[in-house]
Symmetry: C2
Subunit: 345 residues, 2 copies
């Protein structure tokens, strides 16, 4: 399978949090494998964090960026820092490259991620998203922009991290029509439910989830079911021909679930999970996210703690279930790499 | 997404059993969707069954072929039947097309499937396999032949039918190294174990599986673990860099399992499954297929009856589990269609 011409792909890392730092770690660790298997090397020509943007057409060293962040440094310390240049005016130095958009979720405006993604696509750059917000706010627009500029977007990392939910639905369920979908799409709330089941309080369970580090800065985004609703929206837009908006998803979180309710459910052989579901309703879909009592020995009942799982039926492929244990954000970084390789090959 | 140029793809159906008849049914049912979504129409220019081969450069009607087989007819009745032409001399009328190789498994020589696949690849035709035997006997040779003739082979249908095991491992686990693999790869034996667990005898359970129709003509191929070993081999060749042969898999079937053993296991909170496993051993792999006691509430313990499932760990994507309910061969036909669309697009 050896390829003899190495392709150097200019990459801009937008955001230098867990996902993109994990990606840099994988690039360091898997450098030879990536070169051998895909004939590819990623040249990081630009980076951005909350301090601003920096560019280096010959590429920042991966280790340099990892060291900067290990020392709590900011992009503003890097050579090539562009004083006063706003995030979405980040200059793209070449005709084609890859933006990896892993900035924090902002569901009000989608920015800065949405603005920089638009800017990149108009310049003919491909975009890989780890940040859900731009897709939730502008799914169709981003797809149209990509098509109009002959470039691609990919976002398998936005839904259940390493579990290839979007890819399996879009690529492997060819010619099929979805009949129903149920999923546990948020590991933080699933972990909180486990802690509650062990007899803790909601407050303790949330603190524990934050300590372990998987909960977003604002854990209420997870707890209220918004994160799961965003993922369900991206899934349904990607596969089912769903034409509604995020507001068509009836979302209820786990904030009122108590240890007592879980104990009661247990007596009935059941447990409570935050289930995102899609069921057909006329010519469209009924979408919801809500705490749901499920059989303890069912597939979703067996998804525990840091697991996420989905189960769906289609007319051709009967019923398929998939789950992942994701205690660590590394699998999400790997999913970004998977998308990046797919796009450039 | 509308494509305005329809691509007519010449297709030869090698074998007209459940898989290719299911494919024809899907082509009839999904004709408009396939045209709209993929801009593709499959023109069946050749067919083969045990009576021989027939060709029609302008294409047989899908319904005609379905009617022929519904009436227990043979290819020898078709216009275009080639008297005395052996299977592997089936003439390919165009420069490029697609052979769908769904002939019966023959693990002695691989023929006629292996012979016709070689013949097709040398003519520059792509090949989609539903038949495992050619891959088990000539995995590397077929890949080299495809590369040498600038064509492709695909075989996602050979492993767990509709469950995209090969695709997820090859496409979605990019840059990852496999750490372990465990799977229930044969639904017939899993169904037999369920019937045994309900108190039946091995003989009754096998008859029931044959009656329902999923057991191959010779159910001992399933029962002795050979089918599962073949699938494990294809998986390991596809993803792990495994360089051994099928004989390196230590295969033991379920033929000696009794209802009593299952009842004993149950008392321990366990059940028995025919588990195909791969664990690292030095620089290579230890591969086996054998009846194994597993926790009843584990993922594989919960794969029951007509379900197949896999569970694997890698260095980047933690632990992923997937399963499918496959009572009907339709999902395998759909997997063939999925491969066909991937190859021609």
């Amino acid at each position: 399978m050896g390829r003899h011409v190495m392709k150097n792909v200019p990459v801009v890392l937008f955001g230098l949090g867990n996902v993109n730092l994990g990606l840099l770690r994988i690039l360091v660790e898997k450098k030879e494998l990536l070169a051998r298997t895909y004939g590819t090397s990623f040249v990081v020509t630009g980076v951005a964090d909350s301090s601003g943007v920096a560019v280096n057409p010959t590429g920042y060293s991966w280790d340099e960026l990892l060291l900067l962040k290990a020392g709590k440094g900011k992009v503003s310390r890097l050579e090539g820092f562009l004083e006063g240049v706003p995030h979405d005016q980040l200059p793209f130095h070449t005709d084609a490259g890859l933006l990896i958009e892993s900035s924090p979720v902002n569901l009000e405006t989608g920015d800065p991620g949405l603005a920089v993604a638009r800017h990149a696509l108009k310049k003919g750059w491909n975009v890989v998203f780890a940040n859900k917000a731009p897709l939730v706010l502008a799914f169709d627009e981003l797809h149209h922009l990509a098509a109009a500029n002959s470039c691609c977007i990919a976002y398998s990392a936005t839904v259940c991290g390493g579990l290839p939910v979007i890819n399996v639905l879009q690529r492997d369920m060819k010619a099929a029509s979805l009949k129903s979908f149920h999923g546990i799409l948020n590991a933080t709330t699933n972990h909180i439910l486990k802690a509650l089941e062990a007899g803790g309080t909601m407050e303790e369970a949330i603190k524990e989830a934050q300590r372990v580090g998987a909960a977003e800065a604002d854990p209420m985004h997870d707890v209220l079911g918004h994160d799961a609703a965003n993922k369900l929206y991206i899934i349904m837009k990607s596969f089912s021909g769903f034409t509604g908006t995020i507001h068509d998803i009836d979302a209820e979180g786990i904030q009122h679930i108590t240890a007592e309710q879980l104990a009661e459910a247990r007596k009935r052989g059941n447990t409570i999970r935050l289930i995102a579901s899609a069921t057909p309703e006329g010519n469209s879909w009924k979408l919801s996210v809500r705490p749901t009592e499920v059989k303890s020995d069912s597939f979703l009942g067996q998804c525990e703690g840091w697991e996420m799982g989905i189960q769906f039926e289609s007319d051709l492929y009967e019923s398929i279930s998939m789950k992942i244990v994701e205690e660590d954000p590394m699998a999400t970084s790997a999913a970004v790499l998977r998308d990046a390789i797919d796009i450039i090959n």
